[in-house]
């Protein structure tokens, strides 16, 4: 099957700054893919090249087999991009904007039922005839997502879609996006909320300094850090010296110890007993995507 996105040796320079240094990445059709990385890693540059807003210095990107430069017309037809910035056109209301956006992609009245579905699914029904200028930030974000979906693209790119968005919208939005993914749409997500990526994405690429530094299924990435942690609530105490060497972090009365082996739990509890420190609460923690992210990207 033709990949949804195929990125080959993409470089992008802005003068002396090398934003992308030879990115290779293939995203298959139907994937829910997470593109993660710290600010300045090159995620947005890569997405902007994919969307045709920037041109690569070198290399190629194709969408469903169509080159984004030479066959931009077909490539963009297949792509829906939710931009990171909260932009809007102050002259029009939500429904008008969606109709215009679908029209630019060659969709006419026959597309109205889909536009209505998007409006309803994103909780915009009450605001469909409200001018974009009068919408709250969260509603503007919903409208921006709806605009990217107006022409029902098979490949959807969400660049930080939940930045500054309340919990309710996040849930509404993810339910709808998950549904689209189940129906076969390919989803590419960049987010700073690593929990979201861990829950939603089946595969994750991590970028650092314009390169992909990790690319694997989310479960495999989590297995990279097999270590678990023990979170113990102790109260205000002086920790025994022997335990300080494996202390990962402390949050008020809660101490998190990094375990190299599960049997270490018994030893930690023994040390606490010997020092006459009572345990108030205790939890065993699995490594999460944030740990993997810090381990790979924070180095």
């Amino acid at each position: 099957m033709i990949p949804a996105i195929n990125i080959q040796q993409v470089h992008k320079s802005f003068g002396a700054l090398h934003a992308l240094n030879g990115v290779d990445l293939t995203i298959e059709q139907g994937e829910f893919f997470g593109l993660l990385g710290p600010n300045g890693a090159g995620k947005s540059t890569l997405i902007n090249i994919l969307a045709g807003l920037l041109r690569p210095t070198n290399g190629n990107i194709s969408v469903m087999g169509y080159d984004v430069v030479d066959q931009y017309r077909q490539a963009r037809q297949l792509l829906g991009v939710v931009p990171q910035e909260l932009v809007f056109d102050p002259f029009f209301n939500v429904r008008e904007m969606l109709r215009f956006q679908a029209g630019y992609f060659g969709r006419g009245r026959e597309n109205d039922a889909w536009v209505d579905e998007v409006i309803e699914a994103l909780g915009l029904t009450d605001k469909a005839h409200t001018n974009m200028r009068r919408l709250s930030g969260g509603m503007k974000r919903r409208a921006l997502i709806a605009q990217a979906l107006a022409h029902k693209p098979p490949v959807i790119v969400l660049d930080e879609p939940t930045a500054g968005v309340d919990v309710e919208l996040r849930q509404t939005m993810w339910e709808f996006i998950k549904r689209l993914n189940r129906e076969g749409h390919t989803i590419i997500l960049t987010t700073h909320y690593l929990e979201e990526a861990e829950i939603l994405c089946t595969r994750v690429g991590m970028m650092k300094q314009g390169k992909i530094v990790a690319l694997d299924s989310t479960s495999n990435l989590l297995k990279r850090l097999p270590s678990k942690s023990l979170r113990v609530t102790l109260g205000q105490v002086e920790l025994p010296t022997s335990l300080k060497s494996i202390l990962k972090s402390q949050d008020n009365d809660a101490y998190i110890f990094l375990l190299s082996d599960i049997a270490q739990v018994e030893w930690i509890l023994g040390e606490l007993r010997s020092a006459n420190i009572p345990v108030v609460d205790m939890q065993l923690l699995e490594a999460d995507l944030e740990d993997v992210f810090v381990d790979l990207v924070g180095r």
């Binding site: 802005f14 017309r73 963009r76 037809q77 932009v87 809007f88 002259f91 215009f100 992609f105």
Partner: protein, 261 residues
């Protein structure tokens, strides 16, 4: 879908952009249509009151009648320029230009949509001034085809110039510089208020370098059947200027200059 590769123009996409541009200016028609009509009528009122009995530019044509086609054309040109340029600069500054850039619209489709909307705005403003003016003044229509041709070509030329300005300018003050230092001087020094035959020969020569002169003179010829030069020369100059500016505009859009990094 492969056949789309070489297809530079499809109808529905640019038609949507054209409709959006028309609705955009019509929603603020007090500013985009009523205001320029009012300004032109004020010019007409003041200049005709002061000069009507003292100046006769063409035999048998009152100064007020002489002035009307010039004012119509000047407003038409300024508004055609304002439509494409303001739409683009606003979209760039607000960031919503991205909604158009993300679409499969080709450079030719973008050009045609913005240009057609500019022509409509120019014609609407011109027609507005004409309809109000003929309530007070009897205006002949010697060659309606010339009137229409100059009106459409003039709007198109300035619409294309507006696209260039809108792409080039990054800030509103750069756009204001375009308006105040290029469009306004060219339109005021083009023979709107006088025949260039009344000027010293040096300034007559300078006037011939101003494309606005040809648009206004040719347009006026359409009403009275007389002009400072042959309407065919004017038409040729305008068509050549339009083709040159369109070529430049299309090259800018195709290269993604200041739009795609």
């Amino acid at each position: 879908m492969q056949a789309d590769n070489t297809q530079l123009f499809k109808f529905r996409g640019p038609w949507t952009l054209f409709k959006k541009e028309i609705i955009r200016f019509w929603r603020v028609s007090f500013q985009t249509v009523a205001a320029p009509v009012m300004t032109a009528l004020l010019y007409l009122l003041v200049f005709s009151h002061v000069l009507d009995k003292r100046v006769e530019v063409y035999p048998g044509v009152s100064y007020t009648a002489f002035l009307i086609p010039g004012l119509i054309m000047m407003s038409l040109l300024q508004n055609a320029f304002a439509n494409s340029s303001s739409s683009l600069i606003q979209a760039k500054v607000m960031g919503n230009i991205i909604f158009v850039l993300l679409t499969p619209l080709t450079y030719l489709e973008l050009f045609v949509a913005f240009l057609a909307a500019s022509i409509i705005r120019g014609l609407v403003v011109g027609l507005g001034i004409y309809l109000v003016a003929i309530i007070f003044i009897d205006l002949p229509l010697a060659h309606p085809i010339f009137i229409l041709a100059f009106a459409i070509l003039g709007s198109a030329l300035l619409g294309a110039f507006g696209i260039i300005a809108g792409i080039w300018a990054d800030k509103f003050d750069q756009m204001a510089a375009f308006q105040n230092f290029i469009i306004m001087p060219l339109s005021f020094l083009s023979g709107v208020f006088y025949s260039i035959h009344s000027l010293p020969s040096f300034w007559q020569t300078v006037s011939h370098l101003n494309p606005f002169f040809y648009m206004i003179d040719g347009f006026r010829y359409g009403f009275f059947g007389v002009g400072d030069i042959s309407p065919w020369i004017s038409l040729s100059v305008i068509i050549a200027s339009f083709l040159a500016l369109s070529g430049l505009t299309l090259a800018m859009l195709k290269s993604g200059y200041k739009l795609r990094g």
